[in-house]
Symmetry: C2
Subunit: 511 residues, 2 copies
């Protein structure tokens, strides 16, 4: 039984990267959805969120956004910039928002349908720092941005690109060029674009069109770019976020509209109360998107957890976080939209704490049937640091979950009466025909888990999982070849980007 | 917000140990049960298991057990010791087996009702070795047996005692005295007794009666002792296991009848096939118990996973393991009995691998609504070693799960409209009245997780979770005082045990 085959998993060289046969690409939720609240409570949360929008309102810092909302029927106070949104506006927005969204990708095998029931994962994203066991903890750089992008590209179970590491060595007016150049040259999965102001967003869209050879209509045929919109809880939408909602909506690109409601800090201390605030803010963003462009692709976003009372840090994998995830899933099903969740860890390293936090949170997101789970691998320190080894270790849990989403054989042959009859009492099934026919693909093959006995493990250096993970990411990066679907992208961009750089770039929008 | 209170959790001194007010003692499953197979497939597994028992049979090595089964209608071949059991016998056994079992304990606050819907956890058990970061990996001793028992006693979320460490420095004919003396003097929760032959079992029962001041009727009023019966998969029940089933049944004590069916090794390579074999073997044990004493307390046991194809070791937290857990829960519900599951880890240390394995498996067991989940904390190397730090780290996941089993507030006050109205846009909820009234008990307080920021964590020594866990178990053991409910137990046993030791003890039964 020495000779085994991976079931799905990592792709080594270019040929395997593009095989696309096995693997965990297109997944749908296989487990039944769970709730944490009664149906009555979910209806009451929705209703209370509508009261928050109608009676209390949101502060919207962008003039253009307030104008759009006023035109749609909202009551606006220009002095306080408060906007009160009626439940009729919410109902209309939910009526026109799409349920099913086609995510485009350079490689058609990586295109995904983003809709309720689909199960997608995105790597830990938006981290200012990175860490690995070789080079230590440091500020994110273009090198680490590119490396982490290549890690995302190399594993099937990561379905959408995200900016794992922030390239802080690139000045802000030029950073979006770096973000897009590296994605377009190395990533054949659905792309991420930061909403950092109209100028940067429009240039990023232009780079996608150039690199992928799309005209204006082609760019609007499905979604080529996804962004995350975080409201400023409680009850505020800042300038770049409001602009992002509008610009993505008008361009037909996808906004994951995600309040980050930490119970006890930016949100009420109860999970139910935090969800009411989350729901109100997400609905406000969805209304703005649909007022800006009816039918615009949006996702409901839920990222509520509790604040740790000792440190003030966001907590992950706690009962409150899991309940918030399950409740968010219920609220998303209540309004019928696809939705975005997240896992994460507060741990500083890829140790038992970090693994437990992420695994517990992951189950919350999966049982809540999140359409996409963001920060699903590699997120340390509540998002302040992307860990290379943490990424590899977390992939194990994602791959298990992906595998579990598929139905297991349960036909007569799987019930194995004949095999049981063939093996005598006290015998073994190693050589049974039933085993020999299936063993190569019967089991999940671990990525980083080492099941050796103690003696063998000692002889191999007594490595912990994070130490073994180092060798894995190093090998993946050493083996990496950009996917064929990205061939020529850099060349198609180089002249345009050089001109823009020459002109000084495009600064991000002020908050 | 510096001053916080734990919600439940660890008990420090004697007073807190016996307070029993907060905590995670009596738990019921709060999440909906999940399945991994269709209802038709579960019915087919049950039917195929009945065919295995009727057409193929089990080899039963104990003469007395074959005689009991023959008297109950089984077809017995004495030459091969094969026993074929009819489906009528299974139906009758399932009819008379109790659904609800009262687990007695020295401390009435630790008594539990063992029935479908209840959620109990038992520590990692049956380990020949122990390991901790101070003393390294070593053979289990009486000292480590006693220490691990005290750890079990000190955490609410561990509901039943189990022999975490095997006291290998005590000779086998005397070992059961040590096992029982230490349990009876240190543990006020439901007790564990090994089924290592009639002589040892009867003496262990006698020690319970002596220490707890029970007459024969008192000992039979509910269950004072629980054992685990492992069949010798495939299709064999050895002498001490068969004897244990009979003796526990006749004494009114609880057998967790648990085949250990490793798909691809002792069981078919498919999960469905492994479950068919598990089901047949568990039903055979249940039939033997009910034939020996109708109405005897038994639990259906499921502990099926896959073998790792590289190392031949049992795998934990894999898709196959989780599916087997979910399928076992479906089979247990199909027959209506309370049931025992398990988590576990193949990892050699309390690292990210071990945490992921145990957490993934734990979710499988909980979503399968296991009545008791064995090996829920501390099990390394597939059970070859009990890890002190692994125990502490695993408690975190158990405590999260226990907390999650309770309903969250969802009334009008929890929805927090007034609090949301009170806090201005962009403000915070730290000082809101709604927060101040609730923050002390609103959130789960981590046991070992450290949510400090990177600088603080570095200053505190950059400890991984397992390193912090060392300080926790050391403190718990240093603080330990035997529970008041055990007062006098040692004294009531000493004369009797001294006499038995003097007489040379009682050897375990040969297999």
């Amino acid at each position: 039984m020495a000779e085994t085959e991976r079931r799905g998993g990592r792709r080594g060289g270019r040929a395997r990267q593009e095989a696309g046969a096995a693997g965990w690409g297109a997944l749908r939720h296989g487990l039944a959805g769970q709730g944490a609240f009664s149906e009555d409570a979910i209806a009451a949360m929705h209703d209370t969120a509508l009261r928050v929008l109608e009676e209390l309102g949101m502060r919207v810092l962008l003039d253009e956004a307030r104008a759009i909302l006023r035109a749609g029927g909202a009551l606006v106070d220009e002095d306080s910039r408060m906007v009160r949104i009626g439940r009729d506006m919410v109902a209309e927005a939910l009526r026109v928002a799409p349920r099913s969204i086609r995510l485009r990708a350079a490689d058609p095998a990586h295109e995904r349908i983003f809709e309720p029931g689909a199960m997608l994962f995105m790597a830990g994203s938006g981290c200012p720092n990175v860490t690995d066991r070789q080079r230590g903890r440091r500020a994110g750089s273009r090198e680490s941005y590119r490396e982490t992008l290549r890690l995302q590209q190399s594993f099937d179970v990561i379905h959408m690109h995200g900016p794992s590491a922030e390239p802080q060595d690139v000045p802000p007016p030029l950073r979006h060029y770096a973000l897009m150049e590296d994605q377009l040259a190395n990533g054949s999965k659905p792309l991420f674009v930061y909403a950092r102001g109209r100028g940067q967003v429009e240039e990023a869209f232009e780079m996608i069109r150039l690199a992928r050879g799309l005209d204006a209509a082609g760019f609007r045929d499905g979604v080529w770019a996804t962004t995350v919109i975080n409201t400023n809880s409680p009850r505020q939408i800042d300038v770049p976020m409001a602009r992002g909602i509008i610009d993505f909506a008008r361009a037909g690109q996808l906004s994951l509209i995600t309040p980050f409601c930490l119970a006890g800090a930016m949100a009420p201390v109860t999970v139910a109360g935090a969800l009411v605030l989350q729901h109100a803010e997400a609905l406000a963003g969805i209304v703005l998107a649909q007022m800006a462009a009816p039918g615009a692709p949006v996702a409901y976003g839920g990222f509520s957890s509790n604040v740790d009372l000792k440190s003030g840090a966001p907590a992950f994998g706690t009962p409150e976080h899991i309940r918030a995830n399950l409740g968010s899933g219920q609220l998303a099903r209540f309004i019928g939209l696809p939705w975005r969740s997240a896992t994460g860890a507060a741990s500083n390293v890829a140790d038992a704490q970090g693994a437990t936090e992420t695994a517990m949170a992951l189950w919350g997101a999966v049982l809540a049937q999140a359409t996409v789970t963001v920060h699903a691998a590699g997120w340390l320190e509540g998002g302040l640091t992307f860990g290379y080894e943490k990424f590899i270790c977390d992939l194990e849990a994602l791959q298990v979950m992906a595998d579990l989403a598929r139905p297991a054989p349960e036909d007569q042959a799987a019930l194995a009466f004949d095999a049981i009859a063939e093996v005598p009492p006290g015998g073994h099934f190693f050589a049974a025909a039933h085993t020999m026919e299936r063993y190569r693909t019967a089991f999940y093959a671990p990525l980083v888990a080492d099941l050796s006995n103690h003696g063998t493990w000692l002889e191999a250096g007594a490595q912990t999982a994070d130490a073994r993970a180092t060798a894995i990411w190093q090998q993946v990066l050493a083996d990496f070849t950009p996917p064929r679907a990205c061939d020529g992208a850099a060349g198609r961009l180089s002249r345009w980007v050089a001109d823009r750089r020459q002109a000084g770039g495009m600064p991000p929008e002020e908050q």
